[in-house]
């Protein structure tokens, strides 16, 4: 995680979804390969980074995690700034957490870039015996809303890598196809806010340092 690491892109990805669906554990599974049965309630904003190789490119994924409780949205608009990807997480064993997906989606589009890559994530597949959200339902919902979809288990480490990598790959596709307009989605703004206007999502040379 050193600052002298060379990379091609920095992608900011946010985790959203109701309290207790496992956002913090998805983050720690992806960035540290850790799972904590007794993790604390997340307060405020946390983030963690991991550098991944994707099609020969070095991508620094900067994943942001925040409290899921509704009223915290009052202070987390800063959270969405510059995000190019989002994992909208629900708990497959709690239907209510799935029902709120629509609300979260609205919240996201209200604050984030309209071209943001979103994946609907049904977490806790280890609790399949008490499943309350059928996979097909969620898949349909994702399709209708143009979202990626995947089911994961942070506990069993199932599909966590795949979920994040899929999102990162989609972001990269969007960025390199220039589908996103300059200045609208800004993959490097986090590491280099000053060059925003000239560089925007231009690919940085692999030799670039995080200055």
């Amino acid at each position: 995680m050193g600052s002298d690491e060379a990379y091609n892109f920095v992608f900011k990805v946010v985790l959203i979804g109701e309290s207790g669906v496992g956002k913090s554990n998805l983050l720690s599974r992806f960035t540290k390969n850790e799972f904590n049965h007794d993790s604390r309630t997340t307060i405020g904003v946390e983030f963690s980074t991991r550098t991944v190789q994707l099609r020969g490119l070095t991508i620094k994924a900067q994943i942001w995690d925040t409290a899921g409780l509704e009223r915290y949205r009052a202070i987390t608009s800063a959270y969405y700034r510059g995000a190019v990807g989002a994992l909208l997480v629900y708990d497959i064993s709690k239907h209510l957490t799935y029902e709120s997906a629509e609300r979260w989606l609205k919240e996201l589009y209200d604050h984030a870039d309209p071209h943001i890559v979103v994946m609907l994530v049904g977490n806790k597949t280890d609790l399949a015996s008490v499943r309350a959200v059928p996979t097909e339902d969620a898949k349909d919902f994702a399709e209708k809303n143009g979202l990626l979809f995947m089911e994961t288990s942070a506990l069993e480490s199932t599909n966590v890598e795949a979920a994040f990598n899929n999102v990162l790959e989609e972001i990269h596709k969007k960025v390199s196809s220039k589908e996103v307009t300059r200045g609208s989605i800004n993959a490097v703004s986090l590491s280099n806010p000053k060059s925003q206007s000239e560089e925007s999502q231009e690919e940085k040379k692999p030799c670039c340092k995080n200055l």
Binding site: G20, S39, T41, A67, E70, R71, P193
Partner: protein
Amino acid sequence: MEDQVNGKTSEKYLNTTNIITEDCQRVDSYGFERSENVAHDAHDALMSEYLVVLKRRSTKWSKLLDGKAKVEKNQKVKRYVRKGVPNEHRTVIWMAASGAQQQLEENPGYYHSLLQTQSDTNLKEIIQADLHRTFPDNIQFRSSSDQCLQKALYNVLLAYGNHNKDVGYCQGMNFIAGYLLIITKDEEKSFWLLDTLLRRILPDYYTPAMLGLKADQEVLGELVKAKVPAVWQAMARHDVMWTLVVSRWFICLYIDILPVETVLRIWDCLFYEGSKILFRVALTLIRHLQPQILQAQSLPEICQCFKQITQGRFVEDCHTFMEKIFMEPGSLSMAVITKLRETCRERILAESGSHS
């Protein structure tokens, strides 16, 4: 030195909890597991020095209180509070100084009646979901523990949600109530202390719009601009919003940000003097972080600086730290804070109005 850090005598000054001695190497006197990253020898040395201070303070406090559960507010008591309330007197002082004791006495049976009321299912569920996520590293909060505090925590939070419908339950309150239970070991007292904090001492941090919290984050920004301008400029240059780095400081009143003993010393002043103390602590921390913040090259690096404050001698040596918070940030009058709060509040309301 008569007192041993982990010995019986120290419990009197630190915490009266009956944490079994064999656990002492693993957990501190409040039941928290000791972090593996902390240099225990250095910490123990610091604590044994501190116990001497506590013992001296304890004698002075006992003399001052003279067996009464009351405390007058005057310069002497204020000085005493700033120098630290020994744990054996903490509940009494917090209750008396904050006005919680008066509330408790004027409303006999009220707390228990709240537990009898029909509670909202949603309220129950969100509180329930946070019980095992409140201090899982504290043996007193483990469901396997004999006198597990989870049930008491549930009661206090549920009663509070029934009592203060505007607030209901907000994450962060679980940690505050948890600390109150660890110290008072009494649900009803914890309830009234929580109420005093939320209704009288703190602005509206936990209401759904969290306006008081938003305002205080901005107030801190203004204070930093005036008192630590280089940091303010660095924050502006990297476009770091204060909420990203300090929201937890205010929401959790420094729980999990600073070591337990230091948090309790801050709370001594919080209950006696009010919320101004939160800014003194923040400014002291930010001044201390200044060299690292100025070296940081990006927003993530700045966030990292703010995260690193949790450990180290600067924050562990609570007695010196408390001396610093009253010296280093310089003068800070309540009038200034009140005025800044008003200005920031208006600015936030105007901004949210123009967006909607």
